[in-house]
């Protein structure tokens, strides 16, 4: 057999195997970006998928007991109860008022989080239109 054809076959095989692995994994690890109002309107089958919701952590709502952390996520008017009991540490930026992106699934009216990413709305660089309300002398650039 011609060398080039052999190479072509080996390469095709390797690439096809990888594509297969990647494709077959996508279904189970995909999470859908939804807002809290969107989640509320979902049907039960849609709710059973992995979701990623975003919002602000309601101030004073964080309750820790044992390995469990419960809190409330707010998006405008709508609120959602979240429960997290994984062993992975929460990011330092997760605190009252921070912006959070939460991966998990709905169950019994509570969103069971598997992963929480957070950034402090007031830290790093403020987004346009946001300002830091700390003590009077502190300035945050509004770029």
């Amino acid at each position: 057999m011609n060398g080039k054809i052999k190479f072509g076959m080996v390469i095709t095989f390797v690439v096809a195997a990888l594509v297969l692995v990647a494709y077959s994994g996508t279904g189970e690890s995909a999470s859908y970006f939804k807002t809290i109002p969107e989640v509320e309107k979902m049907t039960d089958t849609e709710k059973s998928r992995k979701l990623r919701v975003g919002g602000l952590v309601e101030a004073g709502s964080i309750k820790r007991s044992g390995s469990r952390v419960d809190f409330v996520l707010v998006d405008g008017e709508k609120k959602m109860k979240i429960s997290y009991s994984e062993n992975e540490p929460l990011p330092d930026t997760f605190k009252d008022g921070s912006q959070a992106l939460i991966d998990g699934r709905m169950g019994d009216g509570v969103f069971h989080a598997t992963k929480i990413a957070a950034k402090c709305a007031s830290k790093y660089e403020a987004k346009p239109g946001q300002n830091y309300k700390g003590n009077g002398s502190v300035y945050v650039k509004q770029s």
Partner: protein, 670 residues
């Protein structure tokens, strides 16, 4: 002063444009004085950027809060070194760092090549300076570090700044960003030489020889930068991991993959005159991925735990990337005849094909990671629904790729050029293969049933044995001939062909790292609300919280839990994981305590006090073999430095020697 800084940046911007125009016009009209003035403009731009940087640093150290940048990223009570590192704590400053590093590279290239590469140099300078113009545009227009706060008239003077993000107040963060930048910005040099040789249709592979060293140096910086980032994530970010497949991590890893591919495939061009187009694509690809990485971290296009600015400079990057890629493609397509391969692939089992597979695999990994990172953007464009893939997906795809790569690391360097014989295969691989099987069987019997971990350990031994065999054979031959002992023989052997044996050492470093990665299969963790004085258990450790203390420093207030760790009743260490709240930013930060050992790390995080009982919540993890990753890095660094030492014996890579007589190419291949 601030006006001088702003003016310096603006002048640098104008001169950089002049440099591009003068170099190109000089090359086109064949006017040496124009070319020379283009190069001198580089020196002037260098001086101006140094001046501007000096002014910003001075303002940072003296806490001059009239500067918006200083007020936003520094505060009075920080130690001076963190004040300095606020330079790259925000967008404007880190873009200035880009400019700073880039112009240093340009400066060095101009000084180094006063006599060499005269035909190529105008295009090299033009490429470097065009990139500089782009980054200066950002610093002059949308992101000026010299913006001042209006003061007087009802506006209160700023007493103290916001402070540097506490997560960045850690020693690795002092060096991680500059080193990563040195690595990424550095690839502009190989890229500039590649473009220069394309445009001038340089005969031969001159640019390859010039840029190989540059490529190795920048590769070292890239590897160091990525590893420092991992070390920071592990020790400071407190995810309990060193790698989380976060978009920002991913984009920093992509150019590393392509530049690694380039360092391998460039050997094919040097020795056999093959893969020329491919090498051009890899150099350009790496460069554009570096720019792309900056774009991703700066534009906020994909949500990331590293919360960077979501800013308006994304479009600038898109324009630059589009123009750059289009120009490169146009140049490569226009010069395909000049890039023609000088020999052909002959056999699937040969050195050539192992290089080919190495590249295929690295690129596949690169593509998969890029795909996964951009999946939210792609899925939104295609289905209208934003979907992301998580860390398990990345692992699922990349672990098999990694294992295959590990296998190639062992096999590739030992295969003969052109066509490997069955006899040669048996001779080279018999013992390593047997060793691998024995180890895997032994580990299986010992109770390790995790398939990927078993394969990793087996392959690691396989590769180690092939490398040891290479060193031993070579050293023994030298030893008999020159009557040296084995150790001196090895040093001599390495010195004679530093690139080859340095390369083996780099491979060894990678093997050691893989052992560390495989440890992740055996992680253990627990989270408990700890009763004071009552022990809890994880693995072989008994842990007990004896007290909770608190206190205050200039920069933050802290609270810690004192944890006694016992094994078999014997106290081995007392750890104090801590929580801090930085006074200026009110940002809480956990300071995990890591008890590092060669076989496993005990990692303790003080998460918080529980809301009702006010008892410390302690998260404990056992991370087996993590230290091996850092050890592997040092071996990798040592190996790559060896590669940079000139070989004692000047090996001739004349192509006829390799392609020619069978007996001769045997000698090279062994």
């Amino acid at each position: 002063m601030e006006n001088i800084g702003a003016l310096a940046i603006m002048l640098a911007f104008c001169l950089a444009i002049y440099s591009v125009v003068a170099s190109l016009a000089g090359a086109w009209k064949k006017k040496p004085f124009l070319i020379a003035s283009g190069e001198r403009a580089v020196v002037a731009v260098w001086a101006l950027i140094m001046l501007a940087t000096g002014i910003l640093l001075y303002a940072l150290v003296t806490s001059d809060f009239r500067y918006a940048y200083v007020a936003a990223h520094s505060n009075r009570d920080m130690p001076w070194y963190y004040k300095l590192s606020s330079w790259w704590g925000g967008q404007e400053g880190s873009l200035l760092l880009w400019n700073f590093v880039l112009i240093w590279y340009g400066f060095v290239v101009v000084l180094q090549n006063k006599k060499r590469h005269r035909a190529m140099m105008p295009y090299v300078v033009a490429t470097l300076m065009a990139t500089q113009v782009f980054f200066l545009t950002l610093n002059v227009f949308p992101a000026s570090p010299f913006e001042m706060l209006a003061q007087g008239r009802n506006i209160i003077e700023v007493q103290d700044g916001n402070g540097l993000n506490p997560l960045l107040q850690y020693w690795t963060m002092l060096i991680h960003p500059p080193i990563l930048y040195l690595g990424y910005v550095g690839f502009v040099v190989p890229f500039a030489f590649a473009l220069g040789s394309l445009i001038t249709r340089q005969p031969g592979d001159q640019w390859i020889f010039t840029t190989r060293r540059w490529a190795i140096v920048t590769w070292i910086f890239q590897s160091t930068g990525v590893l420092l980032g991992a070390g920071w994530a592990y020790a400071v970010l407190g995810w309990g991991g060193y790698w989380g497949w976060d978009p920002v991590e991913n984009v920093s890893f992509l150019p590393w993959l392509t530049s690694t591919a380039f360092l391998h495939s460039v050997m094919m061009q040097e020795k056999k005159g093959m893969m020329k187009v491919w090498n051009m694509v890899l150099v350009a690809g790496t460069f554009f991925l570096c720019i792309f990485g900056t774009f991703m971290t700066r534009s906020g296009i994909v949500a990331s735990v590293h919360a960077f600015a979501s800013s308006n400079i994304g479009n600038y990057f898109l324009v630059f990337l589009t123009l750059g890629v289009a120009l490169t493609i146009y140049l490569i397509l226009g010069r395909l005849d000049y890039l023609k391969s000088e020999s052909e692939l002959e056999s699937v089992v040969s050195r050539e094909s192992s290089f080919l597979f190495n590249n295929l695999i690295l690129l596949a990994s690169c593509f998969a990671i890029l795909w996964g990172t951009l999946f939210p953007v792609i899925s939104e464009a295609v289905t209208g629904e934003k979907v992301s893939v998580d860390a398990p997906w990345f692992n699922r795809v990349n672990i098999p790729i990694g294992l295959f790569l590990l296998f190639l690391t062992g096999v590739g360097p030992l295969l003969a050029w052109r066509r490997a014989s069955a006899e040669g295969l048996r001779r080279n691989f018999q013992w390593p293969f047997i060793g691998m099987l024995v180890l895997m069987a032994g580990l299986f019997a010992w109770g390790i049933h995790h398939v990927y971990a078993l394969m990793t350990f087996g392959l690691c031994l396989f590769v180690t044995m092939t490398i040891a065999q290479e060193f031993y054979k070579g050293a023994a031959a030298i030893g008999t001939k020159e009557s040296m002992n084995l150790v001196r023989g090895m040093v001599e052997l390495t010195h004679r062909n530093t690139r080859r044996y340095g390369g083996y050492l780099v491979h060894m470093g990678i093997v050691i790292m893989f052992i560390g990665f495989a440890g992740a299969a055996f992680n253990k963790d627990s989270t408990v609300e700890a009763e004071q004085g009552k022990a809890f258990q994880l693995g072989r450790y008994d842990l007990k919280v004896t007290s909770v203390n608190s206190g205050k420093t200039d920069n933050y207030v802290w609270q810690n839990a004192v944890v006694e760790v016992r094994v078999g009743g014997e106290l081995i260490t007392t750890r104090q994981p801590e929580r801090r709240i930085y006074s200026q930013s009110q940002q809480p930060v956990g300071a995990v305590s890591i008890y590092r050992q060669w076989n496993e790390d005990l990692y303790i995080n003080f998460a918080a006090l529980s809301s009702e009982a006010q008892k410390p919540i302690i998260q404990t993890y056992i991370f087996p073999l993590v230290s091996w990753i850092w050890v592997g890095y040092w071996v990798l660094l040592f190996g790559s430095l060896v590669c940079l030492v000139p070989s004692k014996v000047k090996l001739s890579y004349a192509r006829t020697e390799v392609v020619g007589i069978a007996g001769k190419h045997e000698k090279v291949a062994k």
